[in-house]
Point group: C2
Chain length 244, copies 2
């Protein structure tokens, strides 16, 4: 298949990962660096989302999946198309001008933004010198309109994780109850009562206790659980609770 780019349309990927050690919700960003050939002056030095133009034969989902896979090697991760960004000036900020000049961008590009939830442990960045994880609370300087895109993705994630069990996409297959709680805390920035949270979660049929405990911890090892998507989908029924 011939690869014909569509220069008017791109996908951008907001990649969320969770560092279970530092209890930090992180974003995978790409370093963008450009210096003047003549003076060696630094023209651009910031970070951007990973993204690319769509190909003519691809669906939008396929484009996004391809872009993610090129960066992380991962397929079959949770992804959500959450918004299109098409301000005619979105690539025309002063800070982006040297970059645009250098890359010969089409300046009217509408981007379809996706966010992905990946298990950090599955991502190997050794071969990707330019890619780096940043806590969502400590973002670096960002190119284009990518700060806006990230913030909207994050807002969508906050809402979504309240009503769908997507949080388990960010955790290892085997996790402890406290790890789930810490992750909710990291995403939502709220305090959660441990006893009430445990009770609630443990009573869910799709949270399954394993015959295993943590290993290699220096304190009392915690019970491990897994999430069963099968059971969730069988059990779960929409409720039509009007909550305005």
């Amino acid at each position: 298949m011939e690869l014909i780019k569509n220069l008017n349309i791109s996908v951008d990927c907001v990649v969320f990962g969770y560092d279970i050690i530092s209890k930090s919700l992180n974003l995978l960003l790409i370093h963008r660096y450009l210096e003047s050939k003549s003076t060696k002056e630094v023209l651009v030095n910031d970070y951007v989302l990973t993204g690319y133009h769509i190909y003519e034969h691809e669906t939008l989902d396929q484009s996004a999946t391809r872009v993610l896979e090129e960066l992380t090697g991962l397929s079959n991760t949770y992804k959500k198309q959450f918004k299109a960004f098409g301000d005619p000036n979105r690539l025309k900020d002063e800070k982006d001008a040297p970059w645009i000049d250098n890359e010969a961008f089409n300046q009217r590009t509408v981007t379809i933004a996706y966010y992905f939830l990946v298990k950090t442990e599955d991502v190997d960045l050794n071969s990707k010198q330019k890619a780096k994880w940043f806590p969502v609370s400590e973002l670096p300087k960002l190119g284009f309109d990518h700060k806006k895109i990230i913030l909207e993705a994050y807002e969508d994630l906050k809402l979504k994780c309240l009503t769908e069990p997507i949080i388990f996409e960010l955790l290892p297959d085997k996790f402890t109850i406290n790890e789930v709680q810490d992750l909710y805390k990291s995403i939502l920035n709220v305090e959660i009562d441990n006893r009430n949270f445990r009770r609630k979660l443990i009573h869910k049929k799709y949270i399954i206790p394993l015959d295993e405990k943590q290993v290699g911890v220096s304190k009392k090892p915690a019970q491990l659980y897994m999430f069963s998507k099968d059971i969730y989908e069988k059990m779960h029924q929409k409720n039509y609770l009007i909550n305005i």
Copy 2:
């Protein structure tokens, strides 16, 4: 400003309205008709969403607003960009071929889909011969991928109306409690207990009883209420209830 169309990108508008008499949630659709010049055979005879290519100087929101205004004369209505549709074959169905040939469409068009909530009473269709309201439960034959777009818009609306007070966008400024209930029933296709619903709604501070009752009804006239967006926004606080 010169109007330069971008042939790769369009907006499509799913316009929801509510007929308070027939208690029907409706969609505004455009008749699409084409017959062969030689044989007079009917080549295309179905309905589509209103939509158009974006202009180079416009934001996506502006494009959608413009398209809606051209059809209905309305601005300042509730709108939500809910999804982009970009399947490379979305305009290539057999049923659409004569139309595409006739209009010289670019066949790789990604469309950014919006839905709008309008007060049916505000829309005057007399000047728009081709536009017609259809109950969401009795949709006609639809062109392109517009059925898919409509169904996804409707799903999004169902979810959204559970957590945000957007239902009032579909009602007159002055409404009765039972009208709100009937509208929820029409959207969600569920039965709602009248006593519980009334109590719940009347206790909201942003649902304000007026010193007015229905006029021109042949039975006991009901109390009229209004929705105060101001009070809603002041009172409302996000809850972080995890409900998975």
